[in-house]
């Protein structure tokens, strides 16, 4: 209220609102389940002995995959909605300012920082440009690819005429045939797994080395800066 008092420098910014944070962790969980169950769908566990009717292992694994898939898909739609109503950083996941020179300069700076060529990273309230790029490409584009191929595969069991078929059935001839769809869907597991490895590593690393908080930001929503320099 008092304009006479000099402004205190901001050291914390509320970046990730609660729904976004909730989405992040639910999404992380669903992707983990999808990757594990997906892998097991492709490479099933050793044969179970005993009566066939006593077991439903593949059935459960597939069920878990589909359940997680629906969580992932609904979450994605929710996330899209949140990008519209949430704060400016909530939009980053779906917008990559690749036309801005500055974006690429800063991205380059970030690369140099990871290559130990820069002594310190820049401050970012939202994602750093490198993370931003990966998140858009892997989570948004990759997620869409996984959903389209996944629901196309789902349409095969849902049957001709099902909503999955009407919306996503075209993906099969578009990609080639069913086995192609499965294999492209299958590649997704590795793309996403590698992203997660890097993402988690960088999250921890930057939490320690960078000039701002990371992990706690995804918990509390507040970005804490460790210094007051620009």
């Amino acid at each position: 209220m008092s304009t006479a008092v000099p402004t205190v420098k901001r050291t914390a910014v509320y970046v990730y609102e609660a729904p976004l944070r909730a989405w992040h962790w639910i999404n992380a969980l669903s992707i983990t389940i999808l990757a594990i169950t997906g892998y097991l769908i492709a490479n099933p566990l050793p044969t179970l002995s005993g009566a066939t009717s006593d077991h439903y292992l593949m059935g459960y694994i597939r069920f878990a995959h589909f359940a997680a898939a629906y969580v992932f898909a609904v979450g994605f739609i929710f996330r899209l909605y949140w990008a519209m109503v949430g704060n400016r950083w909530s939009r980053q996941l779906f917008a990559l300012p690749f036309w801005r020179r500055r974006f690429w300069i800063e991205l380059w700076h970030e690369v140099r920082w990871y290559a130990f060529l820069e002594p310190e990273p820049r401050k970012c309230i939202g994602h750093n440009p490198l993370a931003h790029l990966f998140m858009v490409v892997i989570i948004t584009v990759g997620g869409i690819v996984m959903m389209f191929t996944g629901f196309a595969l789902y349409s095969e069991q849902a049957g001709l005429g099902s909503w999955q078929d009407r919306w996503f059935g075209w993906v099969i001839p578009f990609v080639g045939q069913s086995q192609d769809v499965r294999m492209w869907h299958h590649w997704g597991i590795w793309v996403i797994s590698i992203f997660v490895m890097l993402h988690v590593y960088t999250a921890i690393r930057e939490d320690i080395l960078s000039r701002q908080s990371l992990i706690s930001t995804m918990v509390s929503g507040w970005r804490m800066f460790k210094d007051d320099r620009p």
């Binding site: 044969t47 009717s53 310190e120 401050k123 086995q179 294999m183 590649w187 890097l198």
Partner: protein, 380 residues
Amino acid sequence: MPTTETFYEVMRRQGITRRSFLKFCSLTATALGLRPAYAAQLVQAMETKPRIPVLWLHGLECTCCSESFIRSAHPLVKDVMLSMISLDYDDTIMAASGHQAEAIVAEIRQKYKGNYILAVEGNPPLNQDGMSCIIAGRPFLEQLKEAAADCKAIISWGSCASWGCVQAAHPNPTQAVPVHHVIHDKPIIKVPGCPPIAEVMTAVVTFMLTFDRIPELDRQGRPKMFYGQRIHDKCYRRGHFDAGQFVESWDDEGARRGYCLYKMGCKGPTTYNACSNTRWNNGVSFPIQSGHGCIGCSEDGFWDKGSFYDHVTDTRVFGVELNADRMGFAAAGTVGAAVVAHAAASAIKRARKPGQFGDQEPDKTKGQGTAGNDQTGERS
């Protein structure tokens, strides 16, 4: 003057009573999975129609589709040929050869303009001037185009005519292409399979004769009635799949118990065909029942989808074959190792230069916050 006789007349003169004719119709209706009301329609159709002329052309193929066709048990192919259609041209069985044979195509085109069915087995090659398949001294492609020009509809028999099949497998040295790549102005019914099931073939023909229309087709032009579901959806080993009971290697205990063949590369989960229901050779068996996985023989380009014995098959990208899991493990391993190394390097660097590398007191000259001065927490 001899008139063309109807199917009903044919059956009557074979000494078949009206009663058994009606029974035949209702059985056929049942076999086609139709409501009883359709039986009446069938009766009507059979009683009034002359035999429809069929020209059955052969391009690059193995004649297996013809061989399969003659295995049909219901209807018997003898009855199809003598009583339902008029198979006026089919170089595998026709009496005439050479110019007498070619004259038939011309005659049917002119006499039954717009009223004959063109059945195609195999496909036309485009390389070698089209001369890797020569009919009467000319490329097969020309015979195909001519015969197609006046037909009512085309049936693409088998995976050759429907997709290209084995001769179109990489690198497709003759540039063999499926029928729909060269004929664009006629309805085409694809009946894929390498070969298709005999009774599926005759049922498609019988359906068209009976109901005077093309059966309902899926997105890719296959009759939904036989290609609407995957082998896997109706496989009798599905219980073992769901339970997680697999054949782990050939002739093991699981194989002897009829467990699921998924781990032996079964393509049932990615193959649309009627095998697991209609089965082969009058219902005797089908590939999975006899212990070998489905190789996906009715699917587009099934030859180029990697080994028949892998579930996770190789992907061909930019001329190289890659396996998702092999590549994935290698990449994940590499990235994992890189992460560890990077983490170690970061730690060392930080320990060596405290206050300089990524610590509270960094170099004073560097640093421009990304968000610059417009950092705000408020919505914008």
